[in-house]
């Protein structure tokens, strides 16, 4: 087994203890919910699209440190972005949590999620909030579940 400190890096612990942009967003004009049926984790993402950019974004939900920290980091990284930019960032995150490969230019603090790839059972935790955000961006009212989406 890999060392757990790879998974629970200080950035993760910090975001788990003090999640950023947590709570409902009163001005949201998009919302989407994600469920992970196998473990009961949940995440709701609220965002406000100003034109084609994410003006503000927040999340609510419950889950392990990995899922909470990943959602918190997500809000910081998606604010101000367009939908295609968000897709590109998520593609990098997906690569990161499944292979551990860090794209230094684009990922910044998200690199803290690199340890997840050594714990395949936790990949779904790390991607739950992102699926909800991408669905919210699509204006998709349906519930995202990690069972029906590719990680």
């Amino acid at each position: 087994m890999q060392d757990l400190t790879d998974l629970y890096q200080s950035v993760i612990l910090d975001h788990n203890r003090r999640p950023r942009n947590r709570g409902k967003l009163p001005t949201a004009n998009r919302v989407a919910h994600g469920d992970n049926p196998s473990c009961g984790d949940q995440c709701t993402v609220y965002l406000r699209l100003d034109g084609d950019r994410i003006g503000d974004i927040s999340f609510e939900g419950s889950g392990c440190a990995i899922s909470q920290a990943s959602a918190s980091l997500m809000t910081l990284n998606l604010k101000g972005k367009t939908a295609p930019e968000a897709e590109t960032i998520y593609a990098g995150v997906h690569e990161l949590v499944t292979t551990g490969k860090v794209d230094e230019d684009n990922l910044s603090d998200l690199a803290a999620l690199a340890g997840v790839h050594q714990f395949p059972a936790r990949i779904k935790c790390a991607t739950l909030g992102w699926h909800a955000a991408l669905n919210a961006l699509k204006g998709d009212p349906i519930t995202a579940t990690t069972e029906t989406h590719k990680d």
Binding site: R17, C39, G40, D41, S62, G63, C64, A65, I66, R122
Partner: protein, 412 residues
Amino acid sequence: MNPPWPNVRADFPVLHQQVNGKPLVYLDNGATSQKPRSVIDALVRYYERDNSNVHRGLHTLSMRATDAYEGARTRIANFINAADPAEIIFTRGTTESINLVARSWGHAHLKPGDVVLTTEFEHHSNLVPWQQAAKASGATLKYVPLLGADGEGGLDLAALDKLLTPQVKLFAFTHISNTLGTINPVAELCRKARAVGAVTVIDAAQSIGHIPLDVRQIGCDFLAFSGHKMCGPTGIGVLYGRRDLLDQLAPDETGGGMVVNVSYEQATWKPSPERFEAGTPNVADAIALGAACNYLDALGRDQIAAHDTALVKVAMEKLSALPGIRIIGPRVGAERSGLVSFAFANVHAHDVVTFADEDGVALRGGHHCNQPLMRKLGLTSTTRASFYLYNTEEEIDRLVASLQRIQKFFAG
């Protein structure tokens, strides 16, 4: 608090391994128990010596397999003190057993205006089948409440008395809660249900391998359990049903082995148990389940229950001393089965399980197939430690030490 049988751990090959460099501490017995050598040997012996189809062949191996399969049925009837081996139907497990009753009995007996009663702390497998049966029939599903903010008060018996009206056609409840550790007063519940003419279904998944169980003393109509939680193999379980009820019941699945006479137009059914066992049954695992009954009775089920109780008493005392822990189910000192579910305010159950695994300690984290109960208690998940006959007090100390390390890590 060591097991009262000398060398009992030597019977379980899987226990003797290192996990992440530490000796395995297996505390996920609520999910599935480990298997003793005698059960593994029964499987191997069957496949090496007797493997054949049952009830069909007249050759020696087929007769041997049939004798062993039917012998297992008799052994299990005897294990739960059923009046007749024909009351033992082999299934895949608790889930399939409950579904069989929900579909066959539900289809024949439920209609709009009827009430199906269950409790607020059922496993999904004793809840969703009744939702489906109610939807299919137009009957209403009602829940007997659980008392206490932490579910510590058990079933609300006063509410049950109000809910048990003549409209109630069936009452399904768990014997032991897999999440709370609550032990239901099953004989009393059956008595009350019978007084209004309701049929009773007991989910015995968590009790069967842990405490003495006598279906006639309990007075239930149906009872379901899984082999894999009582030292038996996966893929085999039992539905016990009272003979007179089974004889009136239509089969849920049809095909070979369960028919008497078949024409191009129609077919007639054999009596129970064959009526409910269409197709080639799970012969090997049924025989091994018989071996599991022998194993448990050789140790003594009252002694197993006493050991569970002793372990959980120590665990409750030590766990309740941890700062910030919330234990659900019966309080310290109150009667409970050999499992404890708990939550920490600042560490999620999945993180607990991941860290405990690094220490070689196998726990379960999540909603335990009990989502509505979790919601009722204001939780999304808990961590569960569940004990069995081979666990020791030293293993509880390893659990506590691991939890202390986790708390320290997340406190930063």
